[in-house]
């Protein structure tokens, strides 16, 4: 049994077999497999070998066709080497008798042959040694690559253990067969974390290197409450965590009773509680927990896992589905928030930036890639025609200057003109708002307030940009402090700016901060009355709201600010929320 610790990003406990997704490079992640996996591993070796041979035979065909038979024969000889009974039986023996992984076995056997050739001394044989290394790399690529492909054709429930997961991989996975996620890298705002939250699956990220100590098929426990990953747990631990799992579920069920209750504080203040979603199907998750609507619809998933940019119809269908399910409740649709970190090359969008977080992303990308932006806006406006006036709102991400917001607004006007000409129906008055996630936007919030219809504070990016910390980078992640006084002051500034005498603008907080119950009294104390959260956390947040009073919340906020940089702030907030609502699971 082996226990690894990481960052708990999505609550719950999952128990099941591991499925490994290694790093992209050829650094072999593990050398040994388990006895029970031997036949599976031998099968994996043969599948890889067949694939490699098919590849080489294709090369042979092309070479024969273009260069003649004698060139083709070279590839034929390579296939012969790959299929030679000595090589195959030796790899099989290493897997069977030494419980080596196929990767390791291929490495040992082919390195041995290559070395043998090298020792023969001639230049010709040295080159053949290279052929063997090439063969080895092909096999390894197949073996490692094959594992990554399996994500799309899962047939039984597994826990996904990976170095990292790309958005396109996660977008394509069969969700019904995934019980939980663990990644070696990543932080609370990593893609895996957001996805796990959206799917309501336990997840632990930022565990550090550990894949070499696990084999596909090993029994794993992911404890998304404690941030633990347990490899090959002993019976007593399995029993203990199963009990925790059941207790979680029953606690959660107790909170579920709150579902029909309104999120009103003990002293009568109504708090708007909305859900964050990525997929239209999640609308149901929000409503069944009593959400007031969707406060953040991330539309990026329309762009991921697809070969080309989504069409207007793709957008339109997705939005209509959400609108229909909401039955007149509000939805805030955020326009494309893709960055260089989230599969950029779709549809010829510019890729690679030396500094992705500060590069061409989100609204910047949309303003440069106007056609794609207009496609999305057309679809939103057309879909909005099916909803009550004002219930569909458009939000622009990563606004960093007034000029940017004005440009985006102008594009909306252009699209409206186009729709007019085309005779399409759409609402003339659509609330247009912005994410406040760049410090410049928070600092100038009073100026923005004159032009926007609403603010939504995206705490993940706001913290990252204000403190200049990448939470996904373990070397500096301890500097990422959600309760930093600078963040609290920026939130206060936005709240104050929105509360103009002649014009009151709604301010929502979305992002991980708002989904964590311990920050809720603080946020309400800072003057926030609308929060948008992962659907899963709605019941517990509602429970806190219903036990909280506004004066108490204000006290907590004042005290938290007074604590300043002290490390005790998390403990203080945790303590306060436990006092307010002792039955909280976390």
């Amino acid at each position: 049994m082996l226990v690894k610790r990481g960052i708990a990003v999505s609550p719950g406990v999952a128990i099941g077999p591991a499925l490994l997704f290694g790093a992209e490079n050829f650094k072999l992640s593990r050398h040994y497999t388990s006895k029970s996996a031997i036949e599976t591993e031998i099968g994996r070796f043969h599948a890889a070998l067949n694939a490699v041979c098919t590849d080489i035979e294709e090369n042979q065909r092309v070479a024969t066709e273009r260069l003649g038979k004698e060139y083709g024969a070279i590839f034929g000889a390579h296939v012969l080497m790959a299929r030679s009974p000595e090589l195959v039986s030796e790899v099989e023996r290493l897997i069977r008798e030494e419980t080596n992984t196929p990767e390791r076995a291929c490495e040992i056997v082919l390195n041995k042959y290559a070395k043998l050739f090298q020792e023969l001394g001639s230049r010709y044989h040295a080159e053949r040694a290279q052929d063997i290394y090439d063969l080895k790399n092909r096999l390894l690529r197949q073996l490692l690559g094959k594992q990554r492909q399996e994500m799309t054709d899962l047939t039984e429930p597994v826990l996904i253990l990976a170095h990292n997961l790309t958005p396109s991989e996660t977008a394509n996975l069969k969700r019904e067969f995934v019980l939980g996620f663990v990644t070696e890298v990543g932080g609370p705002t990593s893609h895996t974390a957001i996805l796990a939250g959206a799917l309501e699956l336990p997840a632990v990220v930022g565990v550090g290197e550990f894949l070499s100590e696990v084999t596909s098929g090993d029994l794993i426990i992911i404890d998304g409450d404690r941030g633990e990953v347990i490899i090959n747990p002993i019976e007593s631990v399995i029993a203990e965590r199963r009990a925790a799992q059941q207790k979680n579920e029953s606690n959660y069920a107790a909170l579920e009773i709150e579902r029909t209750a309104e999120p009103i504080t003990a002293d009568g203040e109504r708090i708007q509680l909305l859900g964050n979603i990525e997929f239209p199907t999640e609308t149901g998750h929000c409503l069944e927990r009593g959400a007031d609507g969707i406060g953040l619809y991330r539309t990026e998933f329309l762009y991921l896992g697809v070969e080309q940019e989504p069409s207007e119809e793709d957008h339109y269908q997705a939005y209509c589905r959400v609108i229909e399910d909401l039955g007149g409740r509000e939805v805030v649709i955020r326009t494309l928030d893709l960055g260089a970190d989230k599969v950029p090359s779709v549809g010829g969008l510019p890729a690679e930036s030396t500094n992705p977080a500060l590069g061409l992303r989100s609204i910047r990308l949309s303003l440069q890639h106007r056609e794609g932006f207009k496609t999305q806006l057309r679809a939103i406006l057309r879909a909005a025609a099916k909803a009550p006036p004002g219930s569909v709102k458009i939000m622009f991400p990563l606004i960093s200057s007034l000029n940017e917001f004005r440009q985006a607004k102008m594009v909306v006007r252009d699209v409206m003109d186009d729709l007019d000409e085309a005779g399409e129906s759409f609402p003339r008055e659509v609330p247009l708002g912005m994410m406040v996630e760049v410090p410049s936007a928070a600092i100038l919030a009073d100026q923005f307030a004159a032009e926007v219809d609403f603010f939504s504070i995206g705490t993940n990016d706001l913290i990252q940009y204000t403190l200049a910390v990448d939470r996904g980078d373990p070397a500096v992640s301890s500097l990422y402090r959600t309760g930093d006084p600078a963040i609290l002051r920026l939130i206060r500034m936005v709240v104050a700016a929105a509360d103009q005498p002649n014009r009151k603008i709604p301010v929502t907080v979305c992002g991980q901060m708002s989904s964590d119950p311990k920050f809720l009294p603080l946020l309400i104390g800072l003057g926030i009355r609308r929060i948008s959260v992962t659907p899963h956390s709605i019941p517990e947040l509602k429970a806190v709201i219903r036990r909280l009073t506004i004066p108490k919340a204000k006290d907590i906020a004042t005290h938290a600010e007074w604590l300043g940089l002290s490390r005790g702030i998390d403990n203080y907030l945790q303590g306060e929320v436990s006092k307010i609502c002792p039955q909280l699971v976390r």
């Binding site: 070279i74 034929g76 000889a77 012969l80 030679s84 043998l116 050739f117 023969l120 010709y124 044989h125």
Partner: protein, 91 residues
């Protein structure tokens, strides 16, 4: 395997020696035979069905190889292999 064993010596007349492609021709031929064939170069001894063995002989232009076939159809087998060497692995 029946005791019949025949042998013959051949000379490598391939400019680049017994390299990968001719070795693969020998393996393919060997796989189709009903008998055992071993190829010796000095103290080195290779199974005709094992490409790594054959490559390991590092037989260069002018090297002498002793072919030994044992078992059913050894005569015929040996004739086929000798023929391959004599045609210099031509078609």
């Amino acid at each position: 395997m029946g005791g019949q064993s025949v042998s013959q010596t051949v000379t490598v007349r391939l400019e680049n020696g017994l390299h990968l492609v001719p070795c693969s021709r020998l393996v393919k031929l060997g796989n189709g035979l009903g008998c055992d064939v071993r190829i010796r170069k000095g103290s080195l001894d290779a199974d005709i069905k094992n490409i790594f063995d054959l490559m390991g002989l590092a037989a260069a232009f002018g090297d002498q190889l002793e072919l030994r076939a044992t078992g059913d159809g050894a005569d015929e087998a040996l004739a086929k292999i000798v023929q391959l060497f004599e045609s210099n692995f031509g078609d």
